[in-house]
């Protein structure tokens, strides 16, 4: 059974059909890339998965549970985390505080009235947050204010935040956008390094990133899935070449 099952999802903004009858199954433990030209509906699809946009039609099942009409925070509590195009962190807080938040979210759920508990005294939880930070190579910056980190480190911190409440599905919206070559390489390594069990859906323009990470690729164009397959199948797929290059010639 696929961990994520998107069935006949459609969404329009006014007259624009952003998604048309999209069907997509993501298998547990795989890295699945979504590619396609600008405006194809890739980010829109991710936003449907995180509860930010409600589709007009269709259904989304995550691990057997329906996702539509669930609030963003509950979707995260179910085990879906999202890495944004521009790193979304808590800039005025320290790196450790940034990662402490998801650790408490994992323990307490979306809301708990524990106003008298000192959070820094919860040693096992804080230690777990510290481990996450070390794992992503930010140990030197434990008490740095997050906003002052370099872009690459902000991305690492965001990953640490996402991984700290142990998601089963990680959505990545162009994780290497705007990065220098060596930072991109590092991000690829980082994502390859955490292959243990976490399913990943990655939206990416950089084909180098896509082909080094993805086991399966789906191609979106004008709100529809036009091709699906392994990286090798996609490389030579005529519809894909047409979608990227050919519209003017048709």
């Amino acid at each position: 059974m696929p961990i994520l099952d998107i069935h006949q999802v459609s969404l329009s903004f006014g007259g624009l059909k952003a998604l048309q009858n999209v069907n997509l199954k993501i298998e547990q433990g795989t890295t699945h890339a979504l590619i396609g030209p600008n405006g194809a509906g890739k980010s829109t699809l991710l936003n449907v998965l995180t509860g930010m946009l409600k589709p007009d039609d269709g259904s989304v099942m995550f691990d057997g549970k329906p996702l539509l009409d669930v609030d963003s925070y509950d979707i995260n509590q179910l085990g879906i985390a999202k890495v944004f195009q521009t790193p979304a962190i808590f800039p005025e807080m320290t790196v450790l505080q940034n990662v402490t938040i998801p650790v408490f979210a994992a323990r307490d759920g979306s809301f708990r009235l524990n106003m008298l508990e000192g959070y820094s005294k919860q040693r096992p939880l804080i230690e777990f947050a510290e481990e996450q930070i070390c794992e992503l190579g930010l140990d030197k910056h434990m008490h740095t204010i997050a906003g002052s980190l370099s872009r690459g480190d902000k991305r690492r911190l965001e990953m640490a935040i996402c991984l700290a409440n142990k998601p089963r599905l990680l959505l990545l919206d162009e994780p290497t956008a705007g990065m220098a070559r060596h930072e991109t390489e590092k991000t690829i390594e980082l994502l390859q390094g955490m292959k243990d069990g976490i399913t990943k859906v990655i939206v990416e323009h950089d084909m180098n990133v896509v082909f080094s990470l993805a086991e399966k690729i789906s191609v979106l164009s004008q709100g529809q899935i036009i091709a699906e397959g392994s990286p090798d199948e996609i490389k030579g797929h005529p519809k894909v070449i047409e979608a990227y290059l050919g519209e003017a010639q048709v």
């Binding site: 979304a88 962190i89 938040i101 008298l116």
Partner: protein, 324 residues
């Protein structure tokens, strides 16, 4: 030994505040403060600490907190007048009344952010103000205010003079301590995360809306305790307790003192009340002009308020000590 140290470190601010507050009757007259003003300062410390839980932690600027202050004051007045001259049931009823109103207003206003939230809270407060002036005149006394309360009692103690001061000071210390505890708790962490990045917080599995409402209601409860104590301090409730001027004053006090520091807004309150009542004797009505200048100076040069100045001085001392 280690535990003692950390207790001192954790509660340094509360202990210092307690020392300053409880000795106030001794030193306050030396700087021309009259007794009674010290009580008012303590009461506003409560109001401002609570207000900072909303503005300082979550970043939501309410221009309507006079509503909770005023509702609590009227409730206390009516309770003292009609039910019992004991202040304990009066304060409890006042806080419950303001809390219920805060839940309703919070649910409606927190759907919006930024300027829209501020305007909505202002609108609600003005609604209560006009209700007190017209519809509920028979209860509130309208333009003349609510008068005719008996001398408030704390069981057998007459709440006058220094009794009111110490009662208010102890309440202020307790409520400051509680605010500090909230700041150190996971709840405080989530509230501060709302100010930093609400979207990320929601995508990290946290129901930001509930934490915002909680901050709003807690700050309203602090305002309510302050409002109730104002009536114990002076058995009179005027309609201006509910007015936008009162709401605005709290915002100015917070900004001058240092938003988000808990201590800063209390200093802001003490400074403004002292200025308004003592220093303004020489300046007369011109003091508002001077206050305006101070406010502008703070916003332009020290956006972190008095607390930023304190931090800068601390830093300078530390660096000069290091270089020596």
């Amino acid at each position: 030994m280690h535990n003692q140290q950390s207790f001192w470190q954790l509660n340094k601010a509360v202990i210092l505040f307690a020392l300053v507050a409880l000795t106030m009757p001794l030193w306050f007259p030396l700087i021309n403060g009259y007794s009674g003003l010290d009580t008012k300062i303590m009461i506003f410390c409560i109001f401002l600490v609570g207000f900072d839980i909303l503005l300082g932690f979550t970043g939501y600027l309410s221009f309507g907190h006079a509503a909770f202050f005023g509702i609590a004051a009227y409730s206390t007045g009516l309770m003292l007048k009609n039910f019992s001259d004991n202040i304990i049931p009066a304060i409890i009823v006042a806080v419950i009344a303001a809390t219920l109103v805060a839940i309703v207003i919070g649910l409606l206003t927190l759907k919006r952010t930024g300027i829209y939230f501020s305007i909505l809270t202002l609108a609600f407060a003005e609604m209560f103000h006009s209700m007190a002036m017209a519809m509920l005149q028979t209860w509130t006394g309208g333009e003349n205010g609510l008068t005719g309360m008996p001398t408030p009692m704390l069981f057998d103690i007459k709440m006058q003079g220094s009794a009111v001061f110490y009662f208010s000071a102890i309440m202020a210390i307790l409520m400051f301590y509680l605010a500090k505890r909230i700041e150190r708790s996971p709840v405080g962490l989530m509230m501060k995360a709302i100010k930093c990045n609400q979207t990320r917080l929601e995508y990290t599995g946290i129901n930001a809306r509930k934490y915002k409402l909680l901050a709003f209601v807690i700050s309203a409860m602090y305002a309510a305790v302050a409002g109730a104590l104002m009536v114990v301090y002076e058995p009179f409730v005027g309609h201006e307790f509910l007015g936008w001027h009162q709401s605005g004053e709290v915002v100015i006090m917070s900004v001058i003192g240092g938003v988000g520091t808990l201590v800063g807004p209390m200093i802001g309150a003490a400074f403004m009340l002292y200025f308004e009542n003592v220093l303004s004797v020489d300046l007369g009505e011109q003091w508002l002009l001077v206050l305006g200048l101070i406010f502008m100076f703070v916003v332009v040069f020290m956006p972190g308020g008095f607390m930023e100045a304190v931090e800068r001085i601390k830093k300078r001392f530390i660096t000069t000590a290091d270089s020596e």
